[in-house]
């Protein structure tokens, strides 16, 4: 992975799912102000010695074998000015719906989690007060259904919704290097919620149509 160094601080996110060897390279732009800078690679306060240096690029090699080795690694170039670039090594993120999911009583709720890499395991949690309780699919087959759409997409369906199903749910994808979570908010409304504005609009239409019809009959009678 190479990052061209220029004035603004650069960041790059790197998703790692399983233990791997990785090379991080910082490369200096051709027409940069810095000439022969002093380069250090750091992770936090710890300095790492770089394993490879060419004319204008500096590389470190890392072996990531567990989650403690994930984090932010920076290359710092000191010369007349100081520039740096940071690689954030992390577990893959989960993509899912950010906005609250709105459903109705008796209906079906759908939550979908998607990742870049295939996780080792998927787990879904619901919140009971402040605790996370894992959802066991086999014990509530007519309430919760898990559908594995593909290896990296997982889908939770909650059937026969009631007001109690309102709340926060979590989907967790476990990778060898750690796990990542995504939060979903489920709101269960009663049917009355949309019905009120609906009935209001229909009432308005009926009133207007009747008024117009009556007005026309009245003006026709007036003409005669």
């Amino acid at each position: 992975l190479t990052v061209g160094v220029s004035r603004t601080p650069l960041q790059k996110n790197v998703s790692l799912a399983s233990p791997t060897k990785i090379e991080l390279t910082c490369k200096l732009e051709e027409n940069s102000n810095l000439k022969n800078p002093q380069v250090t690679w750091k992770r936090g306060s710890e300095t790492i010695s770089h394993t490879n240096k060419t004319q204008n690029s500096w590389t470190i090699q890392l072996t990531i074998s567990d989650s403690s080795q994930l984090g932010s690694y920076s290359c710092i170039l000191k010369g007349e000015v100081e520039v740096s670039a940071t690689f954030h090594l992390q577990v893959p993120h989960i993509e899912g719906k950010e906005k609250p999911i709105i459903t109705y009583e008796g209906d079906l709720a759908v939550m979908v989690c998607k990742t870049e890499y295939v996780p080792v395991a998927w787990t879904w949690y619901m919140t009971n007060g402040t605790e996370l309780v894992a959802i066991n699919p086999s014990s509530h087959t007519n309430k919760f259904q898990f559908k594995r759409q593909s290896a990296n997409v997982n889908r939770l369906e909650i059937l026969k919704l009631t007001k109690e199903d309102n709340g926060i749910y979590w989907c967790e994808a476990a990778f060898r290097l750690g796990s990542s979570k995504r939060r979903f908010e489920l709101r269960v409304l009663s049917i009355m919620a949309p019905l009120k504005p609906f009935v209001a609009v229909v009432a308005e239409v009926v009133i207007l149509v009747t008024t117009i019809a009556l007005y026309e009959v009245y003006s026709k009678r007036k003409e005669k």
Binding site: T103, Y104, V112, L189, F198, V209
Partner: protein
């Protein structure tokens, strides 16, 4: 004293009709345009592919076009008002039943078919009745009515998003269905013009030719032939030329909105700025429609010439658009395109009325919509093919521009034909003072 179709009020109650048509346009086309917001929700809920979900809109658009001729023939037999009210009820039922969201096929039937039929039965008569109510100010009236689409589309975007965030997609559909029920209110306002031929008994007493008393009524008499759906229009070269123009124009019209967003992304413009491009498009579209209506109302230029000019200007903007390389230039060219698109839409129905004449206008409108739809179906896939071959979205814009230039050519041929016929009729009869070229020829045939 009720207004007659042969002597339209050109104002007065006509403006009420224009306002109600404005609202109908908004509640039909603008809803269709904004339906895309429901896509992802519906797709995820039913666990379907994007292509399967997009069939909903395809069905709506297809039924809309196929229903147009049916709607216009129903207009002639029953009144415009009845058909619009029916349309409103159908559209409402489509959305309201969509609320139950049983499965994808249910959505196809409700938000697809019923909604499409409802929109078709509402839109077609609304457009048509405005032309019936006006003659001298027809261009302005049509332009104002068509602007409704832009005005509503502009507000529906954020409004629908808010509805979905408050009530979920199902609840939002229900409420939108209720809002669409207001189409019936608009329909109630569309008082039919007392054309003496809509009552069959009147017509039969006026079939004796030659009497001076029925000289004026001969104009009203022609509707007898067109009480039912009129395929004879296809025999008229003017209509055929205009229909071909319609196909080519439709082929190009759907392309720029499709490719503007990907082109914008490929230039490195981010989501919110791209969304603002679409807002710019809607705003200048609105302005273009109103301005064109006002200008056409001055009767300085013939409507068909005006249409040819606007088409040329759109194709110029489209040919220039690919030159844009940053947000500002893209926004400017998009603005030009949107503005001239608005002017074209505002005037093209008035030109149809001028081409075929009012007695046959209803059937012509329906048939024109049906024929034009083929262009709308062919255009996007063809453009997609060209873009894939060229590997660049700009090719799509060049194709759209070229198609429009071709369509302008047909307008030119049509204009020549009309001028030749006019010269021919001037030699043979005294010219009658009417705004439509046809009645003088009809009188000729009956001698």
């Amino acid at each position: 004293m009720q207004a007659k179709d042969s002597n339209p009020p050109d104002g007065g109650y006509g403006w009420v009709v224009v306002v109600s048509a404005f609202v109908v346009m908004g509640l039909t086309v603008a809803v269709l345009k904004t339906f895309g917001l429901f896509f992802v929700e519906i797709q995820q809920h039913f666990d379907e592919h994007a292509s399967t979900t997009s069939w909903i809109t395809s069905i709506t658009i297809a039924v809309f076009h196929l229903g147009a001729p049916v709607a216009s023939s129903l207009c002639v037999q029953y009144t415009h008002r009845t058909v619009v009210i029916t349309g409103g009820l159908l559209a409402f039922s489509g959305m309201a039943l969509g609320f139950f969201g049983l499965n994808m096929v249910w959505m196809y039937a409700t938000t697809g078919f019923l909604q499409g039929l409802g929109i078709s039965f509402s839109w077609t008569p609304a457009i048509s009745i405005v032309s019936h109510y006006f003659s001298k100010k027809r261009a302005l009236a049509n332009a104002i009515a068509s602007a409704g689409e832009c005005a509503f589309a502009f507000t529906f975007g954020p409004f629908f998003q808010w509805l979905i965030s408050q009530y979920g997609w199902k609840g939002a559909l229900l409420i939108i269905g209720g809002i669409q029920l207001n189409i019936c209110v608009c329909g109630a306002l569309m008082r039919p013009l007392a054309s003496s031929c809509l009552e069959a008994s009147h017509c039969k007493t006026e079939t004796t030719p030659g009497s001076s008393a029925s000289w004026r009524d001969k104009e009203d008499k022609s509707p007898i032939m067109h009480k039912t759906f009129n395929w004879m229009l296809v025999r008229r070269p003017e209509f055929v030329l205009y229909a071909i123009f319609g196909i080519l124009a439709a082929m190009s019209f759907f392309v720029p909105p499709l490719f503007l967003v990907p082109l914008s992304y490929s230039l490195g413009i981010d989501e919110s700025w791209t969304a603002s491009l679409l807002s710019i498009l809607a705003m200048v579209d609105f302005g273009g429609r109103l301005l064109c209506g006002w200008y056409a109302n001055l009767h300085v230029t013939k409507t068909i010439h005006l249409l040819a000019m606007t088409i040329t200007l759109i194709s110029t903007s489209l040919m220039l658009l690919p030159l844009a390389n940053n947000y500002l230039s893209l926004a400017i060219f998009t603005g030009f395109y949107g503005f001239f698109f608005g002017t074209t839409v505002a005037i093209h129905i008035t030109v149809l009325a001028d081409v075929v004449g009012m007695p046959e206008f209803d059937s012509a409108l329906g048939l024109f919509m049906l024929i034009r739809s083929t262009g709308g179906f062919v255009g996007p896939p063809l453009a997609g093919l060209i873009v894939d071959m060229a590997g660049d979205y700009r090719a799509g814009f060049y194709m759209a521009g070229a198609t429009l230039v071709l369509s302008a050519g047909f307008l030119g041929i049509l204009d020549r034909l009309q001028q030749r016929k006019k010269r021919g009729s001037k030699i043979r009869t005294k010219p009658e003072k009417t705004t439509l070229p046809y009645p003088s020829l009809h009188l000729l045939e009956h001698q």
